[in-house]
Structure formats: structure tokens, C-alpha cells
Amino acid sequence: MGEYPLILFTVLSQLSAGAAITLSLLDYFTKIDNSAGKKSTLVVLVMIALSLGISLLHLGHPFNAYRALTNIGSSWLSREAILFFLLGILLLVYYFQWKEENSFRKSLGLIISVVSVLAVVSSGMVYVLPAVPAWNNFSPILFFLFTGAALGPMFILLMLKLTNGAFSRLVQFTAVILAASLMCFIVYVSVLLSGSGASASTGSQIVGSGIFWPRLLVNWILPLGIFAWLTFKRISPDRKVVCSLFVMVFIGELLGRYLFYYASVALKVAGL
């Protein structure tokens, strides 16, 4: 099965974390319809549970996965598992708070945002390994955060019936995030290619891979092109447009994560 469970787990969990942050901040700063908020919370909660379930498929012994919570002292994998688990529990509590005006819910939302960011950061830290030079830097954390920030707001946009102001601000935010992540990706790959040894081979594996260009296209070029065109024509995007943008970026992120796992070259004893 290879790394497919990890690809799905990381992208889905980052999408959920991004969605949880968007939802709780929107709830804090604006007014959200109660039933739509409740429904969105449930969907995000189910996605987190689903992604955790998928991550178990990666293990040789999924039924002993609870043991993975025991090494928070030094293992980022333990910390990641605990934080996503905690996020799920907090969202469950949040779900039951969707009644009229509720200040507890709003404060809980802020805690949820913080835990979501920490969870995604710890997911990134799992891959910061000296044995894999291409990962042994800030890039896994940065790109994981970008995934959450690109997908989460669009997902919540599609779940909620938002007023035009909030809607277009979130769309603009997504466009900015996509542009920033494209720039970082270009810098990252250039730095890898200009390096030597395992970093340079990771760079050439990424660029030489058959899915490099498809990924660039669906993850960045097409969505950013559509944003540019809409801005140029002064058309405000509707739900259909956002829905297709979401699908493109989601597929792009899955392809990108595939490249992340399969193109990385680890240190090893030369010879053999």
C-alpha cells in the first residue's frame, strides 16, 4: 500500500485543521448561522476522525496504535497523534455549543485554532529528519501549513451560507495563500537543485517526475489563472467557481504530497 494512507491522512487532516480555524475565527469575529455552524463542525469532526482512521492503515499493527501516544518526550509522531486526537475532542465539545449567543463557544473556538496550528506544525516536525536532507529544514512545516490555509477556508466557504463581504475576503485570502505557496515551492525546488548529494537528487526527482507539471497546473497555474481572470473581469466568484477551485487545489495537494513522499532521497550507505 506504500505511503498512500499517509498522503490521504496528511492532506485530509490539514484540510480539517484549516477548516476548523476558519470556522472558529469566523464565529469569533462575525455572525454565523447556528445550524450551518453546527453542521460544518460535524463535517470537520468526521473528517478528522476519518483521517486518523486512514493513518492507522499505515501501521503494521493498527490495533496497538494507542501506544503511539506514549513518547511525547521526544517523538513528534506521538505529539502529532495527541494533538489531532485533542482537536477531535475539542471539536466534539464545540459541536454541542451551537446554541444562540454563546461566549464559551467563541473562546473554545480560539483554543481550537491554536491546537489546529500546533497539530499541523507537529505533523510537519515529524518529517524534519537529518537523515532526509530535503526535509531537514522549515519546508515540511511551511508546506503543511499552506495546505491547510489553501483548502480550509474554501471548504468552510462551501459549507456556510456567508454574506458577500466575508465570502469575497476568504476567496481573496485563498488566492494570496496559493500565490505565496507557489513562490515558496519555486524557491524550495531551486534551492534543492542548486545543492548537492541527496538534496540535489530530491530536486531532480521532483522536477523529473511525471506529475510535476500536472501538479503545478492544477494546484497553482489554473486556480491562480482563474482568480486573475475573475479580478480582471471584475466578476465576483460564486459557489460553483469556488467548488471547482477547491477540487483543483485538493487534487493538486494530493499530487504534491505524493511527490513529497516519493521524491525525497534519504541518506544511505553508498555502494550495494
Binding site: L59, N71, L129, A131, A266, L267
Partner: protein
């Protein structure tokens, strides 16, 4: 404790690898000890040399740091032990070890690696690989009271020892004298 690998003596016969496999009856695709050929262009003269490697029982083991279930422990004598009973097969250690030491056992769905024949050492025996080497190229050294010189911490092809501080030490191969016609 650590391995001392004499690359000058080693003839690349793989007897150490086979003795290890035989001792632990490991799965067909799993080899705790592996004999690597050193790239012949690494030295000034092309020469066949080999590097017999297993777990390096590092001072700063990455496997131990990343394992989420604490399957790894470092004994007081320095041996890094992997407890298969705790392992859940997440493969994190395999990603983190720069020497590709932990290997996945597809039948048990768990990782495994060299535990420096801890059972044999505790009985006062030599490790299986050391006992099997026909040219005495392998030995286990105790770093307490270790006073000999002339060892190096890496040979060509051995990944950067500064990451995990392996305890394996090497004796360099001597590169043959050149025979040239006088000018």
C-alpha cells in the same frame, strides 16, 4: 560498546552477514548486517574494499528519538535495543536512521535490527558475526578503557557521523603502492 570494522582485513566474503541471518533466522528480505562494496574510485588507486555494517548503536540514536512507542532503549553499555513487542510497525525509525538499519519484517509487520547479539554478549560469547569472520575483521570494542589509536569514525560511503554519532569504528584499507617505470 561498538563494532570495530577492519576494512584492510575484510575480504568481502559475506560470512558475517550469513552468520547473523543464521543466528536470528531472519526473513529472506531482512539482513541485519550488510556487506557494502566501497566505491572503487574513492581512493587514489582503484581497489576492492568492503564495509561490513550493522546497527551502529549510536550515541545519539535517531531511531530512539522518533519512535512513538518507545520501542528503543539504550543500555548502559551503549547497546541500542529494539523491543519488537512494543513496535507497532509505523516505520518512523527506518525513515530517521541515516544508515537504513531498521528493516521491516513483512510477516510480523514490525521493524527489526541488530541488537549487538546482546544475549550472546551477556553470556560472554562473541557476536555471531565476529565469531564467523574468517579473517578477524570484525570485533566488538568497549569504549571504557579503550586506548588504541589509528581508528577512524567513517570511511567513504558512510553517511555523516555527526548526525547520530555512531559507535562503529573503522580501520582504513591500505592502498597499494604504485608500480611505475623509472623516468
Amino acid at each position: 560498546m561498538g563494532f570495530l570494522v577492519d576494512a584492510e582485513r575484510c575480504i568481502g566474503c559475506h560470512a558475517c552477514e550469513m552468520a547473523c541471518k543464521n543466528e536470528y533466522q531472519s526473513e529472506p528480505n531482512v539482513r541485519w548486517r550488510k556487506v557494502y562494496p566501497i566505491n572503487e574510485t574513492e581512493y587514489s588507486l582503484p581497489e576492492r574494499n568492503h564495509l561490513s555494517l550493522a546497527c551502529n548503536h549510536c550515541e545519539k540514536p535517531e531511531c530512539l528519538r522518533v519512535c512513538p512507542v518507545r520501542a528503543y532503549t539504550k543500555r548502559e553499555d551503549g547497546i541500542v535495543i529494539h523491543d519488537q513487542g512494543r513496535c507497532i510497525g509505523c516505520k518512523m525509525c527506518a525513515m530517521a536512521c541515516p544508515y537504513e538499519v531498521p528493516q521491516y519484517n513483512v510477516r510480523l509487520k514490525k521493524m527489526e535490527k541488530c541488537n549487538l547479539c546482546d544475549g550472546r554478549l551477556d553470556q560472554g560469547l562473541k557476536t555471531a558475526c565476529e565469531a564467523a569472520c574468517p579473517v578477524e575483521a570484525l570485533s566488538v570494542i568497549d569504549f571504557n578503557g579503550f586506548t588504541k589509536y589509528g581508528f577512524v569514525i567513517a570511511l567513504p560511503g558512510f553517511p555523516d557521523p555527526s548526525i547520530t554519532k555512531p559507535t562503529t569504528r573503522f580501520i582504513k584499507p591500505r592502498i597499494g603502492a604504485q608500480v611505475r617505470r623509472d623516468q
